[in-house]
């Protein structure tokens, strides 16, 4: 049975390193890689009716952009080095969505990049990595 590795990326340098790191592990173990991009979104936000009307269209645009600009290059690079790779775009809270995806795809490990936030920044904005480590159903590797 092939193992599945889940990589969360956001287009940053850190997440690129996480993808490379996961690629090396996947190659060694003959595992499949799923590359996920999470768009920050909350089902509990307050919108104007006009925003709601346009929402479906905006969502398609957001997904299209993430797919084309961030995911496709990474997936292409993985495939060219002979690794089986797929991509997923989801809206939601990043850590929560990655946990959900791990269960959904049967991934055995999650890889994400470190953003290198200061303590104050973590306090103010929260840390995806920190939250993910606490919530994840599978082991998490945070790549510096």
């Amino acid at each position: 049975m092939t193992n599945t590795l889940l990589v969360g990326i956001d287009g940053s340098d850190g997440s690129r390193r996480a993808a490379d790191f996961a690629a090396a592990r996947a190659k060694a173990a003959g595992a499949r890689v799923i590359v996920a991009y999470v768009i920050e979104w909350s089902q509990y936000s307050f919108n104007t009716p006009e925003e709601n009307e346009m929402r479906h269209k905006r969502r398609d645009e957001e997904i299209g952009r993430a797919q084309a600009q961030v995911l496709d290059p990474v997936v292409a690079a993985l495939k060219s080095s002979g690794i089986e790779a797929e991509s997923i775009v989801r809206h939601g809270h990043p850590a929560q969505v990655l946990c959900g995806l791990a269960v959904e795809t049967g991934a055995v490990q999650i890889f994400i990049g470190r953003r290198g936030l200061s303590r104050l920044e973590v306090l103010l904005f929260g840390s995806v990595a920190g939250t993910l480590v606490q919530m994840s159903p599978v082991p998490v590797t945070v790549v510096p």
Partner: protein, 513 residues
């Protein structure tokens, strides 16, 4: 002919200069008032055609709404109580497919619709009801709120079921669409089309009336009160206040200035929490008087003292203000609810059940309790609307009028944004869905903000009431015909839910969203 013209010209000059002089003497406000009052009076007398019952006037339109709400409640077998918990789970997103995340959620659709209804109706409307109908009006308001839930359920289900979805993914829904499409399915296309147009026309008027002028008017009064009452530098400058508000509203709905909308959408829920919180504190602080207040409400509902028309008078006031506040049966919220992304229209209807509940049963009741507990309604005659609520809250928190004024202005603002959308949807339904006609309506909307700020409370409330209630005439005829459609959807959904075919996505506890 030329002679006549020559004679007419000075006359014309004379009238216009007389008009200008009159304007100078009375102020622009009074002139606008006097020009609009007769039109508004004429419309009111048609919509609120009343019959005398036990010595009081009973507007038939209120009866129309309450009967429809009662029939819906019985026809859908008390869906408001049966589905209360399931609706909460839907709002929480338990049944939403994580793959659809990023679409308009049930919560967002409900919140948007609520921001259109929670507002002055809850603050000013309740005070009007209690000051005219006595504490007993509260009882009937709650009953009307509970019954209204089923009606709201039906209209929001239909709104989603018959909405238009365009190739680019945007949606348009609401009574005008379900009336025309839904009745066409039943071979009543002609009637459907007529009702849809009638609804759209009334919705435009309601959007300019209750959704705009009433809001502008009350926020102006608040502004004047806070800045010094009669002596305020703004006291006779309603048009100036209106102009400022019109520019802000215009910058959001025409200019698409997201930042203003962002700010209000963060502040308005916060304000609602403060308002309800303050109300709860007042109720708790006077907990010993709560039983007396409750008994005043219940006793007053059946045998009030000093209320014109007795129990029926209290009932009319309660029903009327509840309907104006939660808009069940009016059809407006259906336009906002239609944007949700769901494969099951019934789920949005179930979510919408909570709208009259939160609006009327929770928030209105709380306002009424505060007014009754503090006894503010009986102290001073001639006080109505926001002033009365403000005074009731001030009797415990002296600084509260400032917060309340801010809340009123912000609620009014968010209600205006919502109603400008309802109005523009109806307008584009009638005059074509393109940017030009949309823009034209929004400009008219901004002009009415100025008119609304310049008028007395009386004509504005009457006009807005009548325009909004008129929407219910068309909407409810359509609802009666389409009740079986909703029932079929409901039965199918409910049996699938009970047999376990519809399951929670988050049953595994991993948190899909």
């Amino acid at each position: 002919m030329r002679h006549k013209l020559a004679a007419a010209l000075p006359a014309l000059f004379w009238t216009s200069s007389a008009l200008a002089q009159e304007t100078q003497e009375k102020g622009i406000d009074t002139v606008v008032n006097e020009a609009i009052a007769p039109i508004s009076n004429a419309i009111v007398s048609v919509i609120f055609y009343s019959v005398p019952v036990f010595g009081t006037q009973f507007p038939l339109i209120v009866l129309w709404l309450v009967i429809a709400a009662a029939i819906a409640t019985v026809y859908f077998k008390f869906i408001s109580f049966r589905a209360f918990k399931h609706a909460l789970e839907l709002i929480r997103g338990d049944y939403s497919n994580p793959k659809d995340s990023g679409e308009v959620s049930h919560f967002q659709a409900l919140a948007t619709a609520l921001s259109g209804t929670v507002g002055l109706g809850n603050i000013a409307g309740v005070a009007i009801a209690v000051s005219i109908g006595g504490p007993g009006a509260t009882f009937w308001m709650i009953i009307a709120g509970l019954l209204g839930m089923s009606l709201k359920f039906a209209e929001c289900t239909l709104g989603v079921k018959y909405r238009n979805e365009y190739a680019d993914g945007t949606v348009s829904g609401g009574p005008m669409y379900y009336l025309s499409k839904g009745l066409a399915e039943k071979n009543m296309g002609g009637l459907g089309k007529f009702l849809a147009v009638f609804f759209a026309v009334c919705c435009i008027a309601g959007s300019l009336g209750g959704g705009n002028m009433f809001q502008a008017n009350q926020s102006f009064q608040q502004f004047v009160n806070v800045t010094g009452g009669e002596g305020s530098f703004m006291a006779d400058k309603g048009w100036l206040f209106g102009l400022v508000v019109a520019i802000i509203v215009g910058s959001v709905i025409i200019g698409g200035i997201k930042s203003i909308a962002r700010v209000t959408e963060k502040v308005v829920p916060f304000m609602a929490v403060i308002y309800v919180g303050a109300g709860i504190i007042i109720i708790l602080a006077n907990i010993t008087e709560v039983p007396a207040a409750l008994s005043a409400i219940v006793v007053g509902a059946f045998s009030p003292e000093g209320v014109a028309g007795g129990a029926v008078g209290a009932l009319i006031q309660g029903f009327r203000r509840a309907a104006f506040s939660n808009e069940a049966g009016i059809g407006s919220a259906s336009i906002a609810h239609s944007a949700v992304r769901t494969k099951e229209p019934i789920t949005e209807g179930l979510v919408a059940l909570h709208e009259p509940f939160i609006d009327t049963v929770v928030i209105c009741t709380m306002t009424a309790l505060v007014i009754v507990i503090t006894g503010s309604y009986s102290n001073e005659a001639g006080m109505s609307g926001v002033d009365l609520t403000s005074k009731a809250f001030a009797s415990v928190f002296p600084w509260f009028p400032y917060i309340l004024s801010l809340a009123v202005i912000l609620f009014a603002f968010s209600t205006m944004i919502s109603w400008s959308y309802y109005g523009s949807k109806s307008w584009t339904y009638l005059f074509g869905e393109n940017r030009t006609s949309d823009l034209l309506f929004k400009l008219i909307f901004c002009i009415f903000v100025v008119i609304g700020s310049s008028m007395n409370l009386g004509p504005v409330v009457d006009f807005s009431d009548s325009a909004i209630f008129a929407m219910a005439i068309a909407n409810i005829i359509g609802l009666y015909i389409m009740f079986p459609v909703v029932k079929r959807e409901l039965d199918s959904y409910w049996s699938r839910l009970k047999s376990g075919k519809i399951t929670k996505y988050r049953a595994d506890g991993t948190g899909g969203t």
